[in-house]
């Protein structure tokens, strides 16, 4: 049998990153093919090439045995390739019928809602996608919205369905429902691409598994040949030798902890934390391996910074107590794109740079701190007057590090601090975190790069779905063990 879609030798690079390096990937009708890998392994890039979002630098795409060009998502949809994105693309004010109708090709001028509703109901019944066609989308749960996304593709006659981390937003029983839907679709000869970084899911629902590591196919396995251990090995590499060479000197545990979280629960969007208890002592780097750490208000539990109860402190007070924050998405959370590099620097602590009771701003002091911090990080000086939004992704990350580490913080919360940096910059940033640690600062390091976590951390926690599922010292555990916990291997039923 021919594969329905075959990607051959796909290469795609972005400035500074080779996201896909000669990747081969195909999917047959009636097959669920899982694409597994860490964040940044190139999974999303690969399917975006398939969906026409990106144009590959090299390689070919075959559809039904013919070599074709997919220049846009429009082309992909015409061929019958559909994608369910992590962020849904529904319009909340419209009903299910209207949302589906919007997606259909060749929409007539006068809509016959009844006909569309009837088709929705037929497809729903066939694949177990029960949803009220007349309900406005804002009333639907996340799981139901995902069903609508799938229905859109089915009614538009897509034959290849790409799911980008579809389980990320679902609660456990919804995940089971999704897997039943996938099984039904497979029965009906749909070709399904399923992106995830959770191992148990792959072993439950995939027929074939391709593991990507740093843009390269680390292996393709049939479901029967795959084991958890083997997949972890493929995902993270067999060993991490280069990191083990660097040993940390033991840290004198002096004074009280810098940060204590006691039984903290959070609410809010996305994954919420449940019963988290963490302490960070001066001169200690605590690594948290896992997917999400919400920075939302505690709804239960206590947060203690340097011995003071900070549970209800506003951000300003927390920052002034010596906490620096390197966010996962600096352009959204730290940097004001329209302001210049120097202005963004001054925002780190406007009170510090204010002169004459705030009437003026001491730009030369801000520039001095920026230069000093830049030197400490062994970076090139960034252009001061350029709007920060015009910088490249790597430079935005640099600015974010330079700014946040300029204040000589006591406690550093660093999320993916080296993401987007080249080797030299990443090493300099890691060295600086270690140096800060040696001078008594505490660091909460959140990363999905296991190598980085093992290199830097004095202690490691693993978060999975908002709970701490493991804690260890790096020298007492292995990357495989942490990887298994990170991907839900330690929790029964995923």
């Amino acid at each position: 049998m021919e594969p329905l879609v075959a990607l051959r030798g796909i290469a795609k690079s972005f400035p500074g990153v080779l996201a896909n390096d000669r990747v081969d990937f195909d999917v047959y009708p009636g097959e669920v093919h899982a694409l597994l890998g860490e964040n940044g392994a190139g999974k999303t890039t690969l399917v975006k090439v398939l969906y026409g979002f990106h144009q590959a630098d090299a390689g070919t795409i075959q559809f039904g045995g013919r070599v074709i060009q997919i220049r846009s998502p429009h082309d992909a949809r015409r061929l019958g390739i559909g994608m369910v994105f992590q962020q849904f693309t529904l319009i909340p004010a419209l009903t299910v019928v209207e949302n589906v109708a919007l997606f259909l090709p060749h929409l007539p001028a006068v809509l016959n809602h009844g006909v569309i509703a009837k088709r929705i109901e037929e497809e729903s019944a066939r694949y177990g996608l029960a949803v009220d066609p007349w309900a406005p989308v804002w009333r639907l749960s996340i799981g139901e919205q995902q069903k609508v996304e799938i229905l859109k593709l089915l009614l538009a006659r897509s034959r290849v369905l790409i799911f980008d981390e579809p389980t990320r937003v679902l609660v456990p029983h919804e995940i089971d429902g999704l897997f039943r839907v996938l099984a039904n679709l497979r029965e009906h000869e749909y070709a399904i691409v399923f992106i995830t970084h959770k191992l148990p899911e792959v072993l439950v629902c995939a027929d074939r598994i391709t593991v990507l590591r740093r843009g390269v196919v680390a292996g393709t396995l049939m479901r029967a040949e795959a084991t958890e251990q083997g997949l972890v090995g493929l995902m993270f590499g067999a060993a991490l030798p280069e990191y083990d060479l660097r040993r940390r000197e033991p840290i004198a545990e002096s004074g009280g902890p810098l940060l204590e979280l006691q039984q903290v629960d959070t609410g809010g969007d996305g994954v919420s934390l449940q019963g988290i208890t963490v302490t960070i002592a001066p001169g200690e780097i605590v690594g948290v391996a896992g997917v999400i750490l919400g920075l939302t208000p505690c709804i239960r539990g206590r947060k203690i910074i340097a011995g003071q109860d900070a549970t209800r402190w506003p951000v300003d007070r927390i920052r002034r107590s010596g906490v620096a924050f390197i966010p996962e998405d600096p352009l959204r959370m730290l940097i004001v794109p329209r302001l210049s590099v120097l202005e963004n620097m001054a925002l780190a602590d406007t009170r510090k740079y204010a002169r004459h009771a705030g009437l003026t701003v001491d730009w030369s002091a801000a520039r001095g701190d920026l230069e000093q911090s830049t030197r400490r990080l062994a970076q090139e000086m960034l252009p001061l007057a350029v709007p920060a939004g015009a910088l490249s992704g790597g430079n935005v990350q640099r600015l974010s590090l330079i700014r946040e580490l300029s204040t000589d913080p006591r406690l550093i919360i660093a999320l993916y601090p080296t993401r987007g940096l080249d080797m030299r910059s990443a090493t300099a940033a890691r060295d600086l975190l270690l140096a800060k640690r040696d001078r008594g600062a505490g660091v909460l390091l959140i990363s999905e790069d296991l190598g980085e976590l093992f290199l830097l951390s004095d202690r490691l926690f693993v978060l999975y779905r908002g709970r701490i599922v493991g804690a260890a010292r790096p020298e007492e555990t292995t990357a495989q063990e942490i990887g298994r916990l990170m991907t839900g291997g330690g929790v029964a039923g995923g």
Partner: protein
Amino acid sequence: MASADARRFRPDSVRAALRVTGLFGLAFALFAVVLLAAGKDPIRAYGDILSSTLFSSYGFSEVVVKMIPLMLTALAVAIPARIWLINIGAEGQLFMGALFTTWGAAHFAALPAWALLPLVAALGFLGGGLWAAISGVMRAHGWVSETISTLLLNYVAIFIVSFFVFGPWKDLESANYPQTPEFPAAARLPMFFGTRVHLGLLIALVALTVYHLVLTRTRWGLEVRAIGGNIEAARRSGIAIGRYILVLMFVGGGLAGLAGMGEVSAIQGRLRPSLSPGFGYTGFLISWIAGGNTYGIVASALLMAVITAGGDVLQMAHRLPGSVVNILMALMLFVVLTRRRIP
């Protein structure tokens, strides 16, 4: 740093100015069609408007008189708009400023001018500021959108003024006219050059200058621009966003209150319900045309003042209803809105 700002924004602002000029040409051309349809010669009508506003010294002085409240109400809109707050309530804030001013002028009538004038000015600012701060508080707590509350409070403010003017504060000597007694001389803002141009002009220009300097030079301006540029980053940098919502609404409302103070204290000399021909709404239009730019506010206020005065010209010389210029203003609004691209 201000110079770096200027460097960065200049190409943009030149392009924006050209664009606005072109769009306004379009609005004038469309209004010319309306004038033609009414059987008037548009070239003569425009000529008359120009000669009786910009090219006569009395006419020009009256244009400046109208610019004073327009610049202040435009600032009342522009200041909260720096952090994307939509203040449609400059009209009501102007009325509350006038109300507070009138109260002060009546209560402290015995004070000399050097004490009374600053006092009533402060009261005017306070009246408008507090009125806007109501919406600010409700927005900062996330209760009610400031767009809705400022708009609705306009009607409340106008009714409150009517209540006092028709009721407790009514001047018994002016028969059936709904108006308060005349202000004492010490509460009248001085006028200059034998025209109605009054001290409010200086207040408005100072307010514009301070607005510009605070925004570009100060710590608070930097924080405001940070909130306007990326509210999430600002929050995570520890900037107190709720406080800025409140303060910017208060200051904006206060400036609209000063506009009201100028109208009652200099122009009218007493409080009347017909205090403002919609200065607050025209100010909103000006602020959006100018995109909050300081020079843009002055230029747009001039344009709107000329158009408002032009209504009188059309009424007297061409026997058209004066409100016909509202069509022109509506056309302006249309062309201004074309700047807002759908992403």
